[in-house]
């Protein structure tokens, strides 16, 4: 693949024209309204293991999807095929579905008056001019540092460097069309430590819009190795009820469960334990959760949502109180509320935090469990009941004593949210959700 056909902003006019062609075809075939998303993506992934190249993968994906309406009836279709015939057939397939779907009074595009007018430039496109050979060198360097960290690192489970660039354009029959080019680069390292007949695996990674800003290979390799080694000798603890500190990289999960529970789809389906909770104090008074969708270069920034509405900064939780649900046009109509421009999700969620880092939070916790690994999907969103496999470290007098594995942690999310004691200053910067470590007053730890 030559650099001349690299996917970038220069592809946007062509994709925009394609969106317009598909919308015109939908109109020609009889659709009363339609919305279309077209994308093209290209990338390279390389992985090494045990000082040897393992894979070199090139990807290039194209495709489009259309949702169209016949009055209040709706049908969708998508394809990776290209050409006019594919457009005609895909529109026809969506139309055939719409003809058989039921009338749905909530169906349809967002109001034309609500379409985003100004699309701020978010600076999401930073191609990384890296050859496969150079990507392999970086990965080998990262793994070498991991092996050098500790003699108990005896095996590896893959170190990879990947770079992706893509373009996406959304448009609808109101005449809205918006698009952007973006990039995503990552370096990840998985190492295996071995001692006394026990093997433990752990990882570290970084991801960034700009390849040059990725964490240094030496740092990522060393961190992966240190994490794997520190788990050697892990064992269960007896069943108990103690405070639990979620490391920042896992604490993101707690807030993503919260977002799911206040998202319109789960609310109108009566599938959330937070149905009807608008206005309730769910978190401690000092806690705020706000969305900031326009941060330049951030991983989840977007100027418009999945319905073409302009995204905007706002709190979901202020002073501990739920002040807004997470709504798109459809779920908003089902609930009799305006969209919050979150069709397709939340763009950069910030969790308010204090001054203490993870070490200080361990001191504050005194005796309890620091969780650095979660396993399984043990969450019932209808009731908020939470029960997951966990691993981490046992803490006494604010100090780590020994690694823990094969335990579960359980509680109810409603209680867990209320019982957040502190959020640390050790922010997880790689995720859509920016939080520090989260200390929860009390959970049931089940073990030996």
């Amino acid at each position: 693949m030559s650099s001349t056909d690299i996917v970038g902003p220069q592809a946007l006019p062509e994709l925009q024209a394609k969106v317009e062609r598909i919308i015109a075809e939908a109109r020609r075939q009889g659709a009363t309204a339609s919305e279309v998303s077209v994308s093209v993506e290209q990338g390279l992934s390389t992985s090494v293991r045990q000082r040897e190249v393992e894979t070199v993968e090139f990807n290039r994906d194209e495709g489009f999807g259309i949702t169209l309406y016949l009055g209040q009836r709706k049908g969708s279709a998508s394809t990776s095929a290209s050409g006019d015939a594919a457009i005609q057939e895909t529109v026809a397939a969506a139309l055939a579905i719409a003809r058989h779907a039921s009338e749905d009074e909530a169906a349809g595009l967002a109001d034309a008056a609500l379409m985003a007018r100004e699309l701020p430039e978010l600076d999401l496109y930073h191609p990384w001019a890296i050859t496969p050979e150079r990507a392999i060198e970086l990965a080998l360097d990262c793994e070498a540092h991991a092996f050098d960290t500790d003699t108990r690192i005896r095996n590896a489970d893959g170190t990879s460097v990947s770079t992706h660039q893509g373009c996406r354009v959304y448009g609808n029959s109101h005449g809205f069309v918006g698009g952007y080019a973006s990039t995503r680069h990552s370096l990840s390292c998985v190492m295996i430590a071995e001692a006394d007949g026990q093997m433990q695996r752990d990882y570290w990674y970084d991801v960034n819009r700009q390849g040059e800003l990725l964490g240094a290979p030496a740092y990522i390799g060393r961190r992966a190795a240190e994490r794997a080694v520190s788990r050697l000798g892990a064992r269960p603890v007896p069943t108990c009820e103690v405070p639990v500190l979620f490391a920042a990289e896992l604490a993101t999960g707690l807030f993503s469960h919260f977002l799911a529970a206040v998202s319109g789809g789960n609310l109108y389906r009566k599938s959330s334990f937070l149905e009807g909770a608008l206005g309730e104090r769910l978190f401690p008074e000092w806690l705020t959760l706000d969305e900031r969708p326009h941060i330049p270069r951030a991983m989840a920034s977007a100027s418009f949502d999945g319905d073409g509405l302009a995204t905007y900064a706002k709190p979901f939780v202020a002073n501990g109180e739920l002040v807004s649900y997470v709504l798109g046009t459809y779920s908003g109509r089902k609930l009799g509320m305006p969209s919050t421009a979150n069709a397709g999700g939340v763009h950069n969620l910030f969790v308010s935090h204090g001054e203490e880092d993870q070490k200080a939070l361990l001191k504050r916790m005194g005796r309890g469990l620091l969780v650095t690994e979660l396993m399984g999907q043990g969450l019932n969103l209808v009731t908020g009941d939470y029960s997951r496999g966990a691993g981490g470290y046992w803490v006494e007098n604010g100090e780590i004593q020994f690694p823990v594995q094969e335990v579960t942690i359980a509680g109810n999310l409603r209680d867990m949210f209320r019982q957040i004691v502190a959020v640390g200053s050790d922010l997880e910067l790689r995720s859509n959700i920016r939080t520090g470590s989260v200390l929860i007053e009390k959970m049931t730890v089940a073990g030996s």
Binding site: E52, E54, T55, V56, E57, F58, N59, R60, E62, G63, G75, S76, A77, S78, T79, S80, A81, S82, A86, T90, A93, A94, I97, H100, A101, S102, D104, A107, N155, D157, I192, M199, Q200, R201, R231, T239, R269, K270, M375, G376, Q377, G378, N380, V382, T383, D385, S387, R388, G389, G391, E406, V407, T408, I409, A410, N412, T444, A446, G447, S448
Partner: protein, 484 residues
């Protein structure tokens, strides 16, 4: 040439001006110094889904995806590229990218093609076409009405119908040439019930490599789809009465069928060839050793007719097998794709699977289950003084290196003095694969396979799988509840 090969190649190759005769030359572009193996994987997939909620069929979707994956292997190295276009020009570009990993060495040669003669495990026809759109919509509406009529406590019903039709053609430097046409259908009913301000969900479904008529077949007095609705409601009502599950290490009895998720996580993944070649599995280097109680015999069987996890040939063209993984507690075999089989010096077992042309094949499970034992399931429950009976499970996960695995219950009960007691809320159970399998102390005579709903994820790739087991007892495993 088999009719299957003819039919699939006409469909996948002809539109782009290619034919089977052109494949040796295309593979020749991949062959060269240092290339040990290479293959071309042509694939197309049409899929649809229909969803009913709030009593109306809100949306349906249709997808067509097609392309070709090009892979070259040199020692342990793999080069891979793919294209949505199935043309000579696109294949040439992908081949040049894929073979960039080659080291210096022997010149590879394209072997003469030979196609395995395999029994056909599923029908050739498009499973999406057996009902027309009006009939599909009618089916969803009928099941919605029937479900709501079952109980006034039902507040929400979601019914979904989905079908996939895949055609694949794989041609490899080693001479394998295979084609397959694969149907897959799925039906699901989910309900929300409410009583005294408390809400719960129940969900059930099934499917397989068959067509939509499967859901209309009579099972007892009603069709299969109505049976799913009844079962979803039953589970939801049980959970309305559930008390907190206990926390701690307890004896656990797992019901037959879908509870085989236990084996998929505790044993299956750890016996995939790639992890064992790399020495990263808790089962690495333990061939011939005792890794489970002597009551356990576990197989992976891709050859069962119409099952969700079955394949006539895998995605590398190897016919599937029934592979004995563990026999009377002793480790007997790993599941292999071509790459790992070659590097470990054994034969591939027909477990080389990939999500699509855009993904690399890996060793994956098909239908994984434990053979029946001798105990009466009732007697197994009677043998437990205080423990948990898990009638149905949700999903699971495993860390193959440490052997730790989890699964969560979706319908479970206390066992007190050998009798089933109150239902308990969903909880995660955690254990270590080899340790837990050694604690299997009773195995029932009631082997059952799941209803056809399993999807397995590995390295970001999803493939349909089956699981199964008889009722079995584990003497002690950690139960993650909040109660005493």
């Amino acid at each position: 040439m088999t009719t299957m090969l003819h039919r699939v190649s006409e469909h996948l190759l002809s539109p782009g001006g290619l034919s089977l005769d052109a494949l040796p030359a295309l593979l020749g572009e991949l062959a060269g110094p240092g290339i040990d193996a290479a293959d071309l994987y042509f694939h197309d997939q049409i899929s649809e889904s229909w969803v009913l909620e709030d009593g109306i069929v809100k949306d349906g979707s249709f997808n067509l995806d097609q392309g070709v994956g090009v892979r070259a292997l040199s020692g342990e190295k793999t080069g891979f590229a793919y294209s949505n276009a199935i043309t000579a020009a696109a294949l040439g570009a992908a081949a040049r990218a894929a073979r960039s990993i080659a080291r210096a060495g022997q010149e590879g040669r394209v072997q003469a093609f030979s196609s395995p003669d395999v029994p056909r495990l599923y029908a050739l026809d498009n499973p999406l076409d057996v009902l027309d759109r009006a009939q599909k919509v009618e089916l969803l509406k009928r099941i919605d009405v029937a479900t709501r009529a079952l109980d006034p406590r039902i507040k929400q019903v979601t019914v979904s119908l989905a079908g996939v039709w895949e055609r694949i053609l794989v041609a490899a430097l080693d001479g394998s040439l295979g084609a397959d046409i694969r149907p897959l259908v799925r039906f699901n009913v989910s309900v929300i019930v409410e009583q005294n301000g408390r809400r719960e969900r129940g969900s059930h479904g099934g499917g397989g490599r068959t067509d939509y008529r499967f859901f209309l077949d009579s099972v007892g007095l009603e069709d299969r789809a109505t049976g799913y609705a009844r079962e979803a409601l039953r589970q939801a009502l049980v959970n309305l009465e559930a008390i907190p599950a206990p926390a701690g290490t307890l004896p656990v009895v797992l019901g037959s069928g879908w509870s085989g998720v236990l084996l998929h996580e505790a044993v299956g993944h750890g016996l995939e060839g790639d992890f064992n070649r790399k020495g990263s599995s808790a089962y690495s280097g333990r061939m011939g050793e005792r890794v489970a109680s002597s009551l356990c015999t576990i197989v992976d069987d891709g050859t069962l007719a119409d099952r969700r996890g079955s394949l006539s040939i895998d995605d590398e063209g190897t016919p599937t097998h029934c592979t004995t993984l563990i026999e009377n507690g002793v480790l007997k075999g790993y599941m292999q794709d071509k790459l790992n089989a070659r590097l470990m010096g054994v034969a591939p077992t027909g477990n080389g699977r990939r999500e699509s042309y855009a993904h690399l094949p890996m060793p994956r499970m098909t239908n994984t289950y434990m053979l029946a034992g001798e105990s009466d399931p009732e007697e197994i429950i009677r043998s437990v003084k205080k423990g948990i009976y898990c009638a149905s499970l949700g999903g699971g996960q495993v860390d193959i290196t440490s052997g730790k695995f989890v699964f969560s219950t979706s319908e479970a009960y206390l066992i007190e003095d050998g009798k089933l007691g109150a239902p308990v809320k969903g909880a995660t159970l955690i254990g270590n694969g080899p340790e837990v399998m050694n604690k299997v102390s009773m195995v029932g005579n009631d082997l059952a396979l799941d209803s056809g709903v399993g999807t397995c994820g590995k390295d970001g790739q999803s493939v349909p799988v089956g699981v199964g087991q008889p009722t079995l007892k584990i003497d002690g495993i950690t139960v993650g509840g909040t109660g005493a």
